[in-house]
């Protein structure tokens, strides 16, 4: 059972999934990996303030936020991707496309979970909250770039079948990143500042990640 699952994850990372269809995992199983590995990284990420009973809530929040972030971004980006794929005449491949996209989400969490020891070591070494945030952002960035490689590899047979899939996979990355960045910003705090009250969302009103970035740059430039 576990061995089968580990084999399947190995296949996923090596992008062998569509070649070994007879032992291809079900969607449910892929989604389960996404939750399990997402939670794994989330628990480590939320343990910045220490693993004490009063920080338990924060760890729980951080853990759930990772799969929520990925699933929500995925679901929001899917309808437009579906319609545009249909317009491009790629509807018949869409079932396979969904499978690839879900698998990529799972791969992203596997990669993230493999980075969890680094994060733990970092937390043990440095106590600065701001730097911890940056380190996690860096880990997410690395994992996203690696997962993108998995996606491109999974897409390769489709692109061979119809070169239009190349444009589509790029479009997916644009939509997904656009929504994902704002989703990450909205779901703050992921780590939870020690000393601040533990909340699922930040108390202040929601703001826009892109507007924040632009304003920060503008302030730095001196407008």
């Amino acid at each position: 059972m576990t061995r089968q699952a580990l084999n399947n994850i190995d296949d996923l990372l090596r992008a062998r999934m569509q070649f070994s269809l007879e032992r291809a995992p079900r969607h449910r199983q892929i989604i389960l990996w996404m939750i399990v590995f997402g939670l794994t990284y989330g628990i480590v990420m939320g343990s910045f303030g220490g693993i004490t009973p009063d920080r338990f809530q924060q760890i729980l929040y951080s853990a759930t936020k990772v799969p929520v972030l990925l699933a929500a971004t995925f679901l929001l980006s899917l309808p437009s991707f579906f319609v545009i794929n249909t317009l491009m005449g790629l509807r018949s491949d869409f079932a396979q496309v969904i499978r690839l996209l879900i698998s990529t989400q799972a791969a992203l969490t596997v990669i993230l979970a493999s980075f969890a020891p680094f994060t733990a070591l970092w937390y043990l070494s440095f106590a600065d909250y701001e730097v911890a945030k940056l380190f996690n952002a860096f880990m997410f960035g690395c994992a996203s770039i690696t997962a993108q490689l998995v996606l491109l590899r999974l897409y390769r047979p489709l692109i061979k079948k119809n070169p239009r899939h190349r444009v589509m996979v790029r479009l997916w990355l644009v939509i997904y990143a656009f929504v994902g960045i704002q989703m990450g910003w909205t779901l703050r705090p992921f780590i939870g500042k020690p000393g601040m009250e533990t909340t699922f969302f930040r108390q202040e009103a929601f703001t826009n990640a892109y507007v924040e970035v632009v304003q920060t740059i503008m302030r730095a430039v001196g407008w």
Binding site: A72, L75, L76, S77, P79, S80, F82, V83, I84, T86, L87, G89, R91, I175, F178, V179, Q182, M183, W185, T186, A205, F206, T207, N208, Y210, V211, V214, Q215, M218, W223
Partner: protein, 277 residues
């Protein structure tokens, strides 16, 4: 209803505009049901746009609900009014160049185009709602909607031009075989028609500069090329006339706003505001 959705799906998948479906050089699928679905899709996106007003006021006032309702009504209106305004001149020029596209074919083609546009637009609805929930910046929301609408418009107009291109090819095919224009099918005898076509035209006074083979359908295509520019400009300004769609958080709800400025100036203004200038 399900049948109508399937018809729209056929348009999106390209079944309705495949060469085999256009073999008489005209569009044969009816679009009555597609119109209804298109309006519903537009209303859906309108609600998504209006969600910003709802969320900014915390849903406390009746104004927020009015804004959503108004956007749901106005968004399909925007597209159909734009079509209505640009249709008469399109018809006149289409007839002037002697295009063989019938009025019915043109209308079906344009409704299909709106179907494509609004389906794409509605599919971005969830993303727009999410940004409405998580964004306090009004200029950002305006620009996001402009970008999404531009993308939908671009895909719809691309669909229009590609379908016209297929219609041209289909008509050339028809001419070559000497069968259609469909109305003549009954009167023509399969055998002697090609002979007529080969016969040398006594009055042929083609000059050295005339483009041979540049038929009326190609001219119709140039008419449509110019028309899509007109359509985009009219559509952009129409959205300004029908504003507010999103609902500024600082202003009370009104169905329409006073006459001032224009779409393009406001887009530039919004970009400036976003960058804090």
């Amino acid at each position: 209803m399900i049948r109508w959705i399937k018809q729209l799906d056929g348009i999106l998948r390209g079944d309705a505009t495949r060469m085999s479906a256009l073999k008489h050089g005209k569009i044969e699928t009816p679009v009555g049901g597609v119109t209804v679905i298109t309006i519903l899709l537009g209303a859906t996106y309108g609600i998504c746009m209006g969600a910003y007003a709802m969320i900014r006021t915390g849903g406390a006032s009746a104004d927020a609900y009015w804004q959503m309702l108004a956007s749901a009504v106005k968004l399909p209106l925007l597209f159909f009014l734009t079509l209505l305004i640009t249709l008469p001149s399109l018809y006149v020029f289409n007839a002037l160049v002697g295009s063989r596209l019938s009025v019915l074919s043109v209308i079906r083609l344009l409704i299909s185009m709106l179907g494509v546009m609004l389906a794409v637009l509605a599919s971005f609805g969830p993303i727009v709602v999410f940004f409405s929930v998580s964004t306090d910046s009004y200029p950002f929301m305006k620009l996001l909607n402009v970008v999404v609408a531009a993308l939908a418009g671009f895909l719809g107009l691309a669909f229009l031009l590609r379908t016209l291109h297929r219609l041209v090819l289909a008509q050339i095919e028809v001419d070559r075989k000497g069968i259609a224009p469909a109305s003549k099918i009954e009167t023509s005898n399969d055998q002697d028609v090609p002979v007529e076509l080969i016969e040398v035209d006594e009055d042929d006074n083609t000059s050295a500069l005339d483009q041979v083979g540049y038929g009326t359908t190609e001219k119709a295509r140039s008419v449509f090329r110019i028309w899509i520019i007109v359509f985009s400009l009219v559509g952009a300004q129409m959205s300004w006339v029908l504003r507010p769609f999103i609902g500024s958080p600082d202003m009370p709800f009104t169905w329409f706003r006073a006459r001032e400025s224009n779409f393009f100036l406001d887009v530039i203004d919004s970009i400036g505001k976003l960058f804090g200038m």
